[in-house]
Point group: D2
Chain length 337, copies 4
């Protein structure tokens, strides 16, 4: 931590800051300049922060130099984490595709999609059972029945399964039924849900919030990991910007940043990021080339009648073509699938 | 709704869209131009939207022209709503100040703050019992004890009370104990929480999400109202932008937009918006001048030892000075307090 | 400046950084911690920065703690600057209103508007002679004729005048003809134009760029001042965000930040910020209450036929009403007009 | 164009809008609904827009459905444009790499870099002679000497050349000396510069503004093309968002959007977008996979002593490695280089 003193800070105020640092058992290093005086602080700043150093006399600002997340931090865990999802590996040199409809709409559709997803070579079947929707008048999901259909699709195809949870009771319903629970962008800082996901022990796919910095995202992962669940997979799905041509702006540099700051695997969802079907394939390829550990792709047997997010869903032929085109690229990037 | 056809859309595809509209019992109006062909659709578009018109052959895009929220919409409720909080009115020509510490830290501090808040002329005491924090290692709140201290402070001072809820169980704990429950920015699209807040019947202060458009915010209010609870107060608290000088960018035009689109009262929180103590007073005044129905201000008897958000909290003298300065301004704007 | 070393930085790399600092005649202060090592650097960092310390072995990042602008910086010029525009003062306890049409459209319209502007009590007449427009097919302005009409309107009414310049030749044309030249948001980092404006010696109103941080804005002012022209007036006109209800998001906290960081006066343009006529009056009042030194308001005798930005222009009665409503507010804020 | 009437618009106001449309020789199609009434307008709206329909009685809003750019629009020029730069083709199935230092610093450095750039297989040498810098105290470039060194490097190596112009006089200096002039992000809406670039006839690389929508960017291209210069190459270089880990957020979906809306080639600059050397290679690959027509990469023989943007520059070995890794990817995407 660095404390920047105001140009006119008095000697007394400088000494007061230094003593406050020392009172917490920390070491303060003073750098005096003509216009600016700095106090470097090293050690565990927990106690000192409770004194609100920003408010001490003469202090201009306080700059944090270490990250507040520990368990998700690559500094303390340099090797990439590999998450085991009932035998399917995510992270390291593995590459994984999660695919399926935005919402689980009915039983036969789920099985039909599962066959396509498997044929394409994807390992994990997605489908929303609990749907967070902007308007209360939109379709809200089949809830527990949706989870059940996913589980049956797993029985039939061997695909692993993932579905979003929007409440603690949904986590209980998902336990033992599906393989990965997803925390959506809107709930990325729903800390009660994060803690419950952590306690559940189920692998968690944590989507980035629409306006979350990467640091906040890794802190959200920390909430899950801090409850004893190290199985967190990050998912970049676009951030909110001023550009109206796409629903969100896919931030592929997040893949690079996460790879540098954390050991957790990161996958990319080009379907939700863009909201436009024709942009899904080029951005899926871009994500592979950027070094992502996987992709989440929306597929629907008949997007024209999808109850949710049809416009961004691939139909089976488009999905199978994309999978074929991805294979040499995944190989070129040194990944195996 | 307007459907914009592609320049090269075939006659067949145009007719197909028109028939699909008519099949849903709606009326389609065709406007043919040299470069662009438009199809206007009027009536209840619910059924038609399920056909995913964006995906029909020849369709370039679909433009929604009516808002998806109804209960929060001024078009169907032109008079401003006035929310009654145990006798204190919010909305119309009333002006209200909500003030108190970020977090309820302990019992005596709460009473000390309540006295200051009352002395300033504020009507409602705030204090966080359940604290959503970016890092799991920060102070998380006193929970039910916090609510209890608020209730006791009400007994002593007559001030109404407000506290944030972050889970359904917190709503149950708050019921009958405090007067307003707050849904924070991070939970603005935690739809399960919104629905539970709606079912509780307790007045709800709904903060705008950090990256929420005003339309999404009013749709979030709709979730609460749709459960039978019309007592929603909106609170602008800054949005996330690229500017780093303030924690968020306070969007005072939101006050104007909400006044035009909705009948719900809107208050402004300059403390959380800026995160900087010296900016609170000027922006509080700006909010009054912009036409806000109230202010939420952080006050702490001793910000230097506050467990949360000390740097943006006013100390008692600063708060009392601000209250004195606000009074003639509130009066000038034609409001009573 | 603070240099943060990587956790695993070698002793050699730490010594290399320290020696590089010392080689530039600066002093380095070392703070060693368990996880992080900091090197504080004080003195003139100009030479040292050319060594690209970010790239030295073992360096994690370099944090600048002092601002790069000097002439615009309040630290070195604590008293507010008061700009004299042919006898009209901007800054200090003066309050100024600049008003007029977006574009100078023709001669009679300019005089008609000038009468209204004067009647309202504004001191400065605005009118665009060179119009930067998003599309090349929109009206581009009357150029030198526009400046001439402004000058004549000054003769008739005594109002001072302001107009935007978009090229160095426009600055030459403006010299001696109008009182203030405006650099628009799109040209805020057109450094050639800034330097020419600086050399001209004419008072400059510098609008904030749509995506400019306040630091970049003050650095742009520095370009003008560094050429020997201290007469810079800043103008907040909204920044670009994700919110679509207003053309831009008016950032009134910028008024507070500028007042803290700089001695230059700052005025607010609610017309361009919102693009919506009904939001102009409430946000004009908010700007006064936030502590702005003035307002720029679009007025047009007949907005329905305005060639540019009609939808955000006030008609004469609305402008005169606003001026009346502003007066007690300006007075209440301790300003004179 | 679609005009949305207010719910309570009178019959008179509806008829007034329709007549105004018809008076301009256009056709109006009326769609009446219970809550909303729409008027579709087809034909050349130029004249009608001058009547400011947003301000007509009863009008809620006016929605533009056609783009204001024509020459840059794919609708009127469906085949991709291929720009010929002294024999090097940009666009279509060609792939191009532009590389070199941020700034031309001195003569030998330019030749040394040119050799590396050529060795890597790049076709075009970049180097800034006129440097737009945030602070007036940073290195501003060698100006005409810089252009001269580029021209000599072309003589020696056969590489084509590109350099940024920041003023009309710089365009004159560049004419006949270098092959492509670059308009930087800060000048994307410096319309005087765009028009001069158009009149020059030199191929123009137009960078996207930091906060420019894709529509505004294509309108800026239109300014150049409207002066008779069809040789415009677009360059995505990151947009400004709230995320602080990278200097800007690289928007690779812009590649997809531009490919859909325009026939102009688009290249990607991962160096400026991120500002971080280690992110350049993965994002360069991502750009190729997303379908970009080329890359602009910063290379410097010794980044540690670069006068500008050293931290994001690749050194020769890193550049040559990246080029080798890109080749199979470019081939896989069906491009030739």
């Amino acid at each position: 931590m660095v404390i920047v003193m105001k140009p006119n800070a008095s000697e007394d105020s400088i000494q007061h800051v230094i003593h406050s640092v020392q009172d917490c058992g920390l070491i303060a290093h003073l750098s005096r300049g003509k216009d600016v005086t700095l106090i470097g602080v090293v050690g565990d700043k927990h106690l000192f922060m409770e004194k609100n150093p920003q408010l001490m006399d003469g202090v201009e600002r306080v700059i944090q130099v270490s990250e507040s997340y520990k368990l998700a931090n690559k500094k303390f865990h340099p090797d990439p984490s590999i998450i085991d999802v009932d035998g399917v590996k995510i992270g390291g040199d593995h590459f994984v595709i999660l695919a399926g409809p935005c919402a689980v709409e009915n039983e036969p559709l789920m099985y039909e999609t599962a066959d396509v997803v498997k044929k394409g070579g994807a390992q994990i079947l997605r489908g929303g059972a609990y749907k967070p929707r902007t308007s209360p008048y939109s379709f809200q999901g089949l809830e527990e029945d949706g989870l059940k259909y996913l589980a049956k699709a797993k029985e039939k195809t061997g695909l692993r399964t993932i579905s979003e949870v929007t409440s603690i009771s949904a986590i209980h319903a998902a336990k033992g039924v599906i393989d990965i629970i997803q925390i959506g962008a809107r709930n990325m800082q729903n800390f009660e849900l994060l803690k419950a996901a952590g306690r559940s022990g189920i692998p968690v796919l944590l989507k980035r919030g629409m306006a979350a910095t990467i640091d906040e995202w890794l802190n959200a992962a920390e909430y899950i990991m801090n409850e004893g669940n190290p199985n967190v997979i990050l998912c970049e799905r676009g951030i909110r910007t001023f550009e109206p041509s796409t629903r969100n702006t896919l931030d592929l540099s997040a893949v690079c940043v996460v790879k540098e700051k954390s050991h957790l695997p990161i996958i990319v969802d080009p379907s939700h990021a863009t909201g436009v079907r024709s942009y899904v394939a080029p951005l899926a390829k871009a994500a592979v080339a950027a070094g992502a550990d996987g992709l989440m792709i929306e597929v629907h047997p008949n997007p024209a009648i999808a109850l949710s997010d049809g416009p961004q869903s691939l139909d089976p032929p488009a999905f199978l073509t994309l999978c074929e085109e991805l294979k040499p690229l995944i190989h070129l990037m040194g990944r195996k699938m």
